[in-house]
Amino acid sequence: MTIFRFALIKGLRNPATLLFNCILPLLLIFVRPLWTGGTAVSGYGLLILVIWGGSFLIAQGTLNDRESGALTRILAAPISMRSYLTQNLLAYMVPLTVQVALISALGTILYDWSLTLALGLFLCYTVFTIASVTMSFAWNCLFKHKETSFASFSAMVTFGSILSGAWIPLAQLPTVLQYAGAIFPAYWGVQGITSLIELGTMGTEYWMGIAAMALFAMAYLLYGGKRRMI
C-alpha cells in the first residue's frame, strides 16, 4: 500500500485540497440554517457540491504524476497499472468518506437525525463520493494539461450544479431543463437525498439514485481505465 500512502499524503499536502476534503465539509455541518430549512440553499445539496469539487481537486494527483513524469518512474517499478489506479482512487476516496461519516454522526447529534436518515445519508454521500472520484479520474484522462482540465471541469460543474438541483431546487428550473441534469451523478444524489428526507425511509427513488450513481461510477471507471495514462 505504498502508493496509497503516498497518494494520500500528496493529495492532502495541497492547501486547497485539504480545505475542500477535510475542513469545508465539517464546517458546513455546523451552519445550522442550512440543515433546518432556514435558507434557500440546502446543506444537503451544498455538501454534494463540496464533495464534487473536493474529489476533483484530490483526483488531480494522477494528472500531476503524468505531467511530472512520476508515473513513468512508478511504472518502471514492478507495479501494475491496475494496482496504481486502485490504490490512488482508494486514497482519493478515504478523506471524503471519513468526512461523510463524521457529518452523519455530527448531524445525528446536532439535528436529531434518525438512524435511518444518518445511514441513508452516509450511504448516498459515500456512493456519490465514489462516482465523483471516478468521474474526476475519467475527466483527467481526457486532458494532457492540468489547466485545461481544471477550466473545463469548472465550467461543467457550474452547469451541473444548477441542472442537478444541488444549488437551486429543480422546481425553479424550466420544465425542459428539469431532467437535463440526469446526466450528472449529482442529480441522482440529490434525488436520493430528497426522497430520503421527504419519506424518512430508503424508498424506491432513493435506491434508484444509488443504483444510478453506482452505474455512473462503473462507466467512468471503464472509460478512465481504457485511456492511456502515459
Binding site: Y179, A212, A219
Partner: protein, 368 residues
C-alpha cells in the same frame, strides 16, 4: 491519413445515437428509459474496454425489448444496439431484431422503425467490413515493411561480404604464387646453381678470365636464389584463411569447448565458399553465446568432390527457442544465391546445416 477511421466513425455514430436517445428521453423523462440508456452506455464502454465481449450486445437487445413496453423509445435504442451488434459481427442480433419487429412487437411497431432497424444493421455491417479491411491492410503493410527491412539487412550483408571475398581471393592468389615460386621455380634455380658449383671444380685448368667471369655469374646466381627465397617468404599470408580460419574461430570461442572435425579434401573448396562457411560458423557461435549458453558445440566440415557440408550443433536448443532471426535468414538467402541450402533444426539439439555445391570450373580454390 483521413481522420475518419472506422473506429472513429463508429464512435461518432454511437455518441450521436446516444445524444438522440437522450433527447427522446427528455421529452418523456421516464426513469426506466434513463436507466436503459445508462445501461447501454455502460455496456458500450465495457465492449470498448474489452472488445472480446462483443456477444454482450445480446444483453442490450434483451434490455431494449423488455423495456420497450415501459418506455416506447426503447425501440429506437434497439437500432443502436443492432448497429453495434452488426459492427461486432454478432449476427444473432439480426435474427432477434427481425423476430422482434415482425412477431413480438407488432402492436406498436411501424414501418419507419423497421426501415430504421434495417438501416442501422446495414450501417453496422458496412462499418465492420470497413474496419476488417483496414486491419487486413495494416497487417499487409506490416508484412511488406518486415520484408523490406529483411532485404535491406541482406543487402548490407552482401555489401560487406563482397570486399571480404575480394580480399580473401587476393590473399589466396598471393599464397598460390608464393607456393609456385618456392616449389617449382625456386627448386629448379637452386638445382641449376648446385650443378654450376659442381662444374666449377672441373674447370680448374681453364682460362683465368673465363673463371673470373664464371665465379661472378655464380655469385649473382646465389644472390638471385636468396632474393627468390625472400620474395616467396614475403608473399606468404599472415592472415589465416580456409580451414585454418575456421579452426581459429573455434579455438577462440569463449563459451564452451568446440569440437572441430574435417572430412575429405578441404583444398578443393573455393574461396567464395570459405567466406560463406566462415559467416555460418560466426553466426552460429554468436547465436549460441547470446541465446543458448550450450555446454558443448560440435562443428563438422565435410568436403566431397561435388559439395561442402558444414554442420554446427549445440545442446542449448531449449533455451534458444526455434525461431530464425535476421542473421540466419540472411545466411539462408546467401546460401540459396550460390546454389546451396541452409537449414536450421531446433530439436533437442540446435543444428545448423549448410550445404554448398562446388563448381570447380568457375572458381579457384585457396590451395590450388
Amino acid at each position: 491519413m483521413s481522420v475518419f477511421k472506422p473506429e472513429t466513425t463508429f464512435l461518432i455514430c454511437k455518441i450521436a445515437g446516444f445524444g438522440l436517445l437522450l433527447a427522446l428521453w427528455l421529452s418523456e423523462s421516464e426513469t426506466a428509459g434513463f436507466f436503459l440508456l445508462l445501461f447501454l452506455v455502460l455496456m458500450s464502454l465495457l465492449r470498448w474496454r474489452f472488445p472480446r465481449l462483443g456477444a454482450t450486445t445480446i444483453l442490450d437487445c434483451v434490455a431494449c425489448v423488455l423495456l420497450s413496453s415501459i418506455w416506447g423509445y426503447a425501440q429506437y435504442a434497439l437500432v443502436l444496439v443492432l448497429f453495434e451488434g452488426m459492427y461486432r459481427r454478432v449476427y444473432l442480433l439480426g435474427a432477434i431484431g427481425v423476430l422482434f419487429s415482425f412477431h413480438f412487437a407488432a402492436d406498436f411497431f411501424d414501418l419507419s422503425l423497421t426501415v430504421l432497424l434495417a438501416l442501422g444493421a446495414l450501417c453496422g455491417l458496412f462499418l465492420g467490413q470497413w474496419e476488417r479491411e483496414s486491419e487486413q491492410k495494416l497487417v499487409l503493410r506490416d508484412t511488406e515493411a518486415g520484408k523490406y527491412y529483411e532485404l535491406e539487412h541482406l543487402q548490407n550483408d552482401l555489401m560487406t561480404t563482397l570486399p571480404q571475398i575480394e580480399r580473401m581471393t587476393a590473399v589466396a592468389e598471393r599464397a598460390r604464387i608464393a607456393r609456385d615460386i618456392h616449389d617449382n621455380a625456386g627448386h629448379e634455380i637452386v638445382a641449376a646453381y648446385i650443378s654450376l658449383q659442381t662444374a666449377r671444380g672441373m674447370l680448374d685448368g681453364a682460362d683465368a678470365d673465363a673463371l673470373e667471369l664464371y665465379d661472378a655469374a655464380l655469385q649473382r646466381l646465389n644472390s638471385g636464389v636468396n632474393k627468390i627465397r625472400e620474395t616467396a617468404h614475403n608473399l606468404q599470408t599472415v592472415t589465416s584463411i580456409g580451414v585454418e580460419s575456421l579452426l581459429e574461430t573455434c579455438e577462440k570461442f569463449p563459451g564452451c569447448p568446440v569440437e572441430f572435425r574435417t572430412y575429405g579434401d578441404t583444398a578443393r573448396i573455393p574461396v567464395y565458399v570459405w567466406n560463406m562457411l566462415e559467416a555460418c560458423l560466426n553466426e552460429s557461435l554468436t547465436n549460441a553465446t547470446r541465446h543458448a549458453r550450450p555446454s558443448y558445440v560440435s562443428v563438422e566440415l565435410d568436403a566431397t568432390a561435388h559439395l561442402v557440408r558444414l554442420c554446427i550443433e549445440n545442446d542449448g536448443a531449449g533455451k534458444a527457442g526455434g525461431s530464425m532471426g535476421n542473421g540466419l535468414r540472411n545466411l539462408r538467402h546467401r546460401a540459396i544465391a550460390i546454389g546451396g541450402t541452409f537449414s536450421v533444426d531446433a530439436g533437442e539439439v540446435f543444428r545448423v546445416v549448410c550445404v554448398i555445391p562446388i563448381q570447380e570450373e568457375q572458381y579457384e580454390s585457396i590451395d590450388r
